[in-house]
């Protein structure tokens, strides 16, 4: 271990805590810090808080679930992005590189098209994401090539484009007054509808995926070397790649199913985390998770407060992400050539 990971980790925690406080207190119904503390304290100790019932309900019923969902989705996308960037040895990769988002999108718009309930739509999105990545993996592995990584990425791009065409077709066929707005809203990403019943189906897959990735943290360092080098160091790259892709896809699909398509988080946050604690996955994965949670909390708070109507998350993350990406390209030329 070189420099300590503590300062970087502390900054990530500070962002998360700032995000939590901001998200709980700011909004159409402002909540004071004192009220927030007494309600949370009362919840922990089991006593009744001496605040207005409306305040308690805003904190626990309205904002609480949404805040938990935002933190989980942000953490999930950041962890998946970190894993994929390492696996594909490319810092410009995001979690939807293998078609998880496109698959989830097609699943969701089909669910909306057939006027299914929200639970069914989420299940369709989740399964769609998993199926898309599985298809990409099977097709990519069937093509025998010297560079399996490159083939996988190209297959992901191609399959993603096909799924995108499918989404376009369903939107074209959809009822323009009832279904199309719902589809558009879902495709742009939002946590406005997040409630308590969403938390378990979100938390389960995210926790499993993240646990697998964190358990494999040292091997993931080695996996970021060229294929033959990793194998000569004693790593069975084939099975390990399946495990990493499966774990990262599980977290991505679960978050897309809950929140719709939210781009950029999985691309931007791993870089911020890497600049805080360096590239070693043992410290990078937890830092990215904490930072990703805080980042999406801030974005989601902006989404529901800056304008009269809610701004879709996908639009805000793009507004923040695009300048960041350009800065990244410019600074990469400085350090990586």
């Amino acid at each position: 271990m070189t420099r300590s990971a503590l300062p970087g980790l502390a900054i990530a925690f500070a962002v998360l805590i700032a995000g939590l406080l901001l998200a709980f207190t700011v909004g159409r119904y402002p909540v004071s810090l004192a009220d927030l503390l007494s309600v949370l304290l009362a919840k922990i100790t089991g006593h009744r808080a001496d605040v207005a019932p409306a305040v308690e309900s805003v904190i626990l019923q309205v904002r609480g679930p949404r805040i938990m969902a935002a933190a989980l989705v942000g953490a999930a996308l950041a962890v998946a992005g970190t894993a994929f960037q390492g696996l594909f040895r490319n810092p410009l990769v995001s979690p939807d590189i293998l078609g998880a988002s496109s698959g989830a999108a097609l699943g969701a718009v089909i669910g909306i098209f057939f006027s299914l309930g929200i639970v069914a739509i989420q299940a369709f999105a989740f399964v769609g994401g998993l199926l898309a990545v599985a298809a990409v993996y099977v097709i990519g592995s069937a093509v025998r090539a010297r560079d399996p990584i490159l083939v996988l990425v190209l297959t992901g791009v191609v399959v993603g484009a096909l799924l995108g065409a499918g989404v376009g077709l369903v939107k074209y066929l959809a009822d323009p007054y009832n279904q199309l707005p719902a589809m558009t809203f879902w495709l742009l990403g939002s946590l406005a509808a997040a409630n308590v019943s969403d938390l378990l189906p979100l938390f389960g897959p995210v926790a499993i995926g993240a646990a697998v990735l964190i358990a494999l943290r040292w091997r993931m360092n080695v996996m970021s070397l060229p294929e033959e080098e990793a194998r000569s160091l004693g790593v069975a790259t084939g099975p390990l790649r399946v495990a990493i892709v499966a774990a990262a896809t599980l977290t991505t699909s679960a978050s897309v199913a809950t929140a719709g398509i939210i781009g950029w988080v999985g691309l931007v946050v791993p870089h911020l985390a890497r600049s805080l604690v360096g590239p070693d996955f043992a410290r990078l994965l937890p830092t990215a998770a904490i930072l990703g949670g805080g980042y999406l909390l801030v974005i989601d708070t902006l989404a529901r407060t800056v304008a009269e109507v809610e701004i879709p998350l996908g639009i805000l993350t793009a507004v923040v992400g695009t300048p960041f990406f350009i800065w990244l390209l410019a600074s990469m030329q400085r350090t990586w050539s």
């Binding site: 040292w218 091997r219 080695v222 970021s224 070397l225 080098e229 000569s232 004693g234 069975a236």
Partner: protein
Amino acid sequence: MNIEGHDLSIGYPDRMVGRGLNVALSTGEVLALLGPNGGGKTTLLKTLLGLLKPKAGEVRLGDKPLDSYSIRERARVIAYVPQVHISTFAFTVETVVLMGRTAHGNLFSRPSAQDRAVAQAVLERFGIAALANRPYTMISGGERQLVLLARALAQEPQFIVLDEPTASLDFGNQGKVMNEIRALAKSGHGVLFTTHDPNHALRAADRAYLLRDGARIADGPVATVLNQEQLEALYHATVERLTDSDSGAVAFLPG
């Protein structure tokens, strides 16, 4: 212990590169692999490392076939030093060297205190302990080559296989790496390296194996195999032989 290739046909799924190759390497000796570009040096190297399956014939390691070893068992016997490259992520030199300890841990383990001690020892052996905390992306090409050598040694292997270890190095660092290769043989390792410079083979190797168009031209002790005639046959080019009048040392010039 020996690595032996018996009657190997080598190549890729879609392409045959060479046939009828017999190679052997023992611990404590250095074998240099020479030949023109596209002649099959790297393919043979990867086949002996177990990274490519032979299309015919068999590679044996000790008294067992190489493919009866697991990837992890293999990495504890044979280490590979690839050509120097720039990695995507700015791992520290120490982390890069610690990656050499991967095969000594299990699927979920992180480097132990003992792994760190081994990494520290190999860094000191190559005189680069001061670089331990520097990012691998921010050191010179010569330093990177030494870091990759240190990583290979951290595997505690019996054999070390190097792909053109001098290709991207300046004159001084080329000499340094040649010396380190000699030192590795002295400490009981079997070393196999490819090179474009017969003089490097003369300096560092005990035996040379000459490969052209996937076929063996000659192999044997460097002093007998590396002569003007063989080199001209190997490269299809004229070669000039120089002899130092005092020491009798020999060197070759192309053209």
